[in-house]
């Protein structure tokens, strides 16, 4: 359990948040630039001396009235937006920097594991100046891990990277949270990254918490869509499911979630029984009042409408509930009227495309 009650006042900016984050898994601090998410993270790390309030991680108090533990005495790992490696040390000695400052009895992540998890074996003797942006960020993550943190803080670790480098580093982050039981707080302004990585979500705006809860539930909330789509990400919902089978002949996987079954094309064969997260974009979901046969759309899920909201000219965003799993659909205003969509109405959600997130 991570508790943080943080207050910071600066000219033109006030941060006032009270966070209760789960003690495992990934929690994301999400919001537009300038909303205070990075300041929040820095305050958790003790890098903001002017922060008032209380910070406690798994029962250990890092900050409170009259208590101030300096950054170097907080068992944390911090990954900055720019890798911030030590330019005078090679990759190995960068990673060893934190490791060597942890008493052997408290070491939880051996050097070999950090190196293996981030795929750095071939880079160990290189200087940071000779690495690509993605490689540097991987070294920075390994360096933070090797310090055996009780809490891993990541400040937009992918924001400074271009799309191919992002795609290079993201799988390592996902692997990390599957392999290690270290709670992470991940700062991001990309709804995409948040959907892929975070189970818990805190939405910030202008230094205050707008909403907090499970990623799945928050991402499907109509009143929060403007926050999620502000960066150009499309409205989408996240579905937790378990793989049932994968048909190698046509690369089609089938996964079960409480609302039914979802089929999706996947070149890599997910193993039956594997828990996966699937992303369903609102624009790929159409609605029908009766079950449709003779269609190319493979997925039809029984659900009921929970809310509607105008979404730009002529469009309506519809929130659905499929046996407890929230979904989003985008339909035209005309269709919404023709079908008489209203909260409580049972519908079939036809899902054209489902993307595997991890």
């Amino acid at each position: 359990m991570i508790e943080a009650r943080i207050g910071i006042e600066r000219p033109g900016f006030t941060l006032d948040v009270d966070l209760h984050l789960p003690g495992h898994g990934v929690s994301a601090l999400f919001g537009p630039s300038g909303c205070g998410k990075t300041t929040c993270l820095r305050a958790l790390a003790g890098l903001e001396r002017s922060a008032r309030g209380r910070v406690a991680v798994n029962g250990e108090v890092w900050q409170d009235e009259g208590v101030w533990r300096p950054t170097h005495r907080r068992a944390l790992g911090y990954v900055f937006q720019e890798a911030s490696l030590f330019p005078h040390l090679n990759v190995r000695r960068n990673i060893e920097y934190g490791l060597s400052r942890v008493p052997p009895a408290r070491r939880r992540v051996p050097l070999e594991q950090a190196v293996e998890l981030l795929g750095l074996a071939a880079l160990m003797e290189r200087r940071p100046a000779t690495l690509s942006g993605g490689e540097r960020q991987r070294v920075a993550i390994a360096r933070a891990l090797a310090a055996s943190p009780a809490l891993l803080l990541l400040d937009e670790p992918l924001a400074a990277l271009d799309a191919p480098r992002k795609a290079e580093v993201l799988p390592y982050l996902e692997r990390l949270q599957r392999t290690l039981d270290i709670p992470m707080v991940y700062v991001s302004h990309s709804a995409d990254e948040v959907a892929r990585l975070a189970q818990h979500l805190v939405l910030l705006r202008a230094g205050r918490v707008v909403a907090t809860g499970a990623t799945q539930a928050l991402m499907a909330r109509l009143d929060l869509q403007d926050l999620f789509t502000a960066q150009g990400d499309a409205a989408a919902s996240v579905v937790s499911a378990v793989v049932e089978r994968h048909d190698a002949a046509d690369c089609l996987a089938t996964a079960r979630f409480p609302g039914g079954q979802l089929h999706f094309v996947s070149a890599q064969a997910p193993a039956p029984g594997q828990a996966v997260r699937l992303r369903v974009q609102a624009r790929d979901v159409s609605l029908a009042l009766t079950f449709q046969s003779g269609t190319s759309i493979l997925n039809a899920v029984s659900a009921h409408v929970t809310a509607l909201r105008e979404d730009g000219p002529g469009q309506v965003l519809v929130a659905l509930d499929a046996a407890g799993t929230p979904l989003l659909a985008r339909v035209t205003q005309r269709s919404a009227q023709a079908l008489a969509l209203a909260p409580g109405l049972p519908v079939f959600a036809q899902i054209k495309s489902v993307a595997l997130l991890d």
Binding site: T71, H72, L76, A144
Partner: protein, 226 residues
Amino acid sequence: MPSFSPEDWAAIRLTLELAATTTALLLVLCTPLAWWLARTRSRWRGPVGAVVALPLVLPPTVIGFYLLVTMGPNGPIGHLTTALGLGRLPFTFPGLVVGSLVYSLPFAVQPLQRAFESLGPRALEAAATLGAGPLDRFFTVALPLARPGFVTAAVLSFAHTVGEFGVVLMLGGNIPGVTRVVSVQIYDHVEAMEYTQAHWLAGGMVVFSFLVLMALHWLQPREPRP
């Protein structure tokens, strides 16, 4: 072929000793001062920085004069050194060292200060998140990253001390083997119309200074920092 006389050699040796001692002391003394100047938000930063820069603009005779007065029998430093049983500093080698420390102070402080300022907070913050305390961070991150600043500070302090004249004359007089450095020796040669010997020493100074500045150029890292 005319060459250096024994007196010339004594002056050269003394000059190098003075410059080496001064440089070593300056690097030790100026590191904390430069660190403080680079990082403080105190309102004393401006005044202290100005005092450090004073020797750049004051005539050496002014510096020498005040040092002579304060280190003399009736000056506060003179009283102190006498009370400590060290005797008086003017006209001694330690006196010259004190004078050189003051005279060359900005040439050590300013490169170090610039080097520390250019570090920025990020590398030190990263070190803190990796469990390094303040002193640990300073020695394992700040010092290695500021190395070019130390090279510049050392070379400039050394060269500037070698080129000292006014302060030495005011403070050390002209005692062979004790306070007569190369610049004073050249002055003596010229006064005595010994132009050949003056040429040798003066030419040596020109070559030395040129080599120092070239060394500074070659020693600076060209590898861009990421």
